[in-house]
Subunit: 190 residues, 2 copies
């Protein structure tokens, strides 16, 4: 997605060979027009898949997931992290390890919002080790629903997430694939 | 806003005389079409105010704030809560007390994303005691920017938040104002 790559080139900051900071347009300050185009692009790529719901995780996944849900004409659902759990009723949960923060945490969704047989598109802002996406997929499958695909805004293709998700049989669509951040420069895969 | 009131009547769950659960369409599962209309309505109410940016707080504020920013044609910025702080660089912070969780926490915004002189519209999903909105306003003023107004999706008018914010001189626009949740029923103010 050319507009996204352009934003990354212009406003992304390479903090290390592993870390790309995109807090100017994606995960702190957010560009709503870019998010709208991200949503339209995911809707195009997953058209005809009979998506019933878009699932993401707070907080940075919410903007792209909301716009994707709008473009698909379906509801969006965001999983809560442990510390912000104010959900009552029966929960579907998964344990997710964060390599950035080096802590394992629980994510949760109210069971009442995922029904057996639904086709769920998972959307997230970043794919690195794939832990968040795997946790969300686990929750979908606990509900007896099905993962129709995984849409990622920025994939760090030099980390193992995509390979792991592909190995588990999930279709992954990433709008920008980063081959390397070596030497402080962003090099895209395609 | 009639569509919002209708959603509250149909899908809201009164948990107590203080607590209205709207996790079917606002703060867990999210209705993107409703959020789009919320954004258009805030943009209409604050038209001509020269808004430069929409500011909210993760996680439930992001959906209405994003749609408001889209309708106004400006960026959206969401404050981070302490536990999800991965921001580097200089921060603007405020202490916010949560009556729901009975804990005080720190919220933060990267100083680089708020400039002196900017006119900032604060958007949030709920107004009860007004602590989150006041914390966000404090951050705006630390930056030398100006609070152009506060847009609230659901106001619990029987709690002191609106009065506090009005006393401080802020213009508050709420799309649904709830007079009471007594007896398990939602009664609107207007």
């Amino acid at each position: 997605m050319e507009l996204l790559k352009q934003k990354i080139r212009e406003q992304g900051v390479v903090l290390s060979a592993q870390v790309l900071k995109v807090d100017a347009f994606l995960n702190h300050q957010v560009d709503p027009v870019l998010m709208q185009q991200v949503g339209v692009e995911f809707a195009r790529r997953f058209a005809g898949q009979g998506i019933d719901k878009v699932l993401t995780i707070e907080a940075s996944g919410i903007a792209p997931a909301l716009m994707t849900a709008l473009a698909l004409g379906v509801p969006m659902l965001f999983a809560r992290k442990q510390q912000s759990l104010t959900l009552g009723g029966e929960l579907l949960t998964a344990r997710v390890y964060s390599f950035t923060k080096q802590v394992e945490s629980t994510i949760a969704v109210a069971a009442s919002h995922l029904a057996a047989g639904e086709r769920v598109l998972i959307v997230d802002d970043f794919l690195a080790h794939g832990q968040a996406a795997r946790g969300l997929a686990t929750i979908v499958e606990q509900a007896g629903a099905r993962v129709a695909g995984i849409g990622i805004v920025i994939e760090k293709s030099f980390q193992p997430g995509r390979g792991e998700l592909a190995r588990l049989g999930y279709r992954v669509e990433s709008l920008a694939r980063i081959a390397s951040l070596d030497g402080g420069a962003v090099r895209f895969l395609d």
